[in-house]
């Protein structure tokens, strides 16, 4: 089997699992809508539209955290990871497949969340959507990687936000910039740079996370 086939098989497994058990996606959807309602009451009346745009990114990052925290739970509970590591495939395929599956969940949550945001607050332009897609790639690449580490520690769910949020700050800068700046080009380029750098780093070092 080649690399692409390994990745496809692993990602398909995660998507099928979610389709049958429906563990993660409904939780993410409910969470993101609930967050918007909280934001409505957290923002004082007549506050600027820019503030709401910023909060959209807070909602995205926290929703992603919710999904990422669940990402490696099936592997942990059923000890699937040991089997995957023993399988004759490149270890980075495990990260890539999990990243693709998480990206699909996060994307699905956002397909609902962005129109809801537009309904509750204000319209969304193409630059914001582009920013969301680019940010999702970075969030899933880094988040899946850190999720695999966090799940192997004693602190588990406690640790992932602590590891992830400092790394997510540049994503938030790029995303908010793309949403609110007059010329979003440089912010989108920055997000693309972030994605490329960290995806490469994760891809190269994932082997050390799952092996000793």
């Amino acid at each position: 089997m080649n690399y692409a086939a390994d990745v496809r098989a692993l990602a398909r497994k995660d998507l099928l699992l979610e389709l049958r058990a429906r563990d993660t996606l409904p939780a993410m959807l409910l969470f993101v809508v609930a967050t918007f309602v909280v934001f409505h009451f957290a923002l004082p009346a007549h506050s600027s539209q820019l503030a709401a745009s910023g909060l959209l990114w807070v909602a995205i990052v926290f929703t992603a955290l919710l999904g990422l925290g669940r990402a490696f739970v099936p592997e942990r509970e059923q000890r699937v990871l040991d089997g995957l590591v023993l399988a004759p495939c490149d270890r980075s395929a495990i990260w890539l497949a999990k990243g693709i599956a998480t990206f699909a969940f996060l994307g699905a949550a956002e397909i609902v969340a962005l129109p809801v945001f537009a309904l509750f607050f204000h319209g969304i332009d193409a630059a914001t959507v582009g920013g969301v897609v680019l940010a999702d790639i970075g969030i899933c690449a880094v988040g899946t990687f850190l999720g695999a580490m966090a799940v192997a520690t004693r602190a588990r769910d406690l640790l992932l936000p602590l590891l992830f949020l400092p790394l997510a700050i540049p994503i938030v800068v790029g995303g908010v910039g793309a949403s609110v700046a007059g010329s979003p080009g440089r912010y989108l380029a920055f997000l693309a740079l972030y994605d490329a750098l960290f995806a490469l780093l994760c891809w190269a070092t994932f082997e050390y996370v799952v092996t000793e």
Binding site: A152, T153, L163, F190, L193, Y208, T211
Partner: protein, 229 residues
Amino acid sequence: MKPVSRPHRVPLPALAVASLALVTLALALVFFVAPNDANQGFSQRIFYFHVSIAFTAYACFAAGAWKALLHLWKRDPRADLESYVAVHQGVIFGVLVLLTGSIWAKISWGHWWLWSEDQLVLFLVLFLFYAAYFMLRYSVDPGPQRANFSAVYALFGVVLIPVSFLAIRIAKSFIHPIVFTRHGPNFGGWILVAYCVSQAALLVLAYTLYRVELTGKLLDVRLRELRLA
């Protein structure tokens, strides 16, 4: 893979004497020889320490990442502990950057914290990132897995530093006094000498502290082994 001490070329007592001498010399130069700044007056002298400490912290993080790479690449048994100690020193110097920067901001601009100051914000992000490094390291049992996790995370740090720096720069306009421009340092004479001596003093001091902590940690490991034997 038990860590063993590496034969060092410079003995620790010599390093301690050198750092004491250099720090004393730096203090003397900064307070008695370097001239007052035209705009900021006496308080500008904190610059010699603030900037030197920031550079030293970067050097520590870079050393930590380099040792992490050695651990992953060459499987050097000593690299894990050395990487940890370097990152630890980096965090200590990073906190000092936050403190000195805060004092400088208060005196120059009247506020203890300024989001418009790149260096301060960057060190806050780095502080959060490396504080999580310790959380990660201490929630995994000692062993090869912990060494791998720490090493990979330390490598993330050196990628995060330039990326965060870029992020903070594009996020806003800045009013931080830029001392180094593209045309080289825009100062000369005693100012340059005082800066270079403080920089050297802090680098030697950081290396001395690194060696002291490393020696202590290795002793701990050895003691535990003897107890178990």
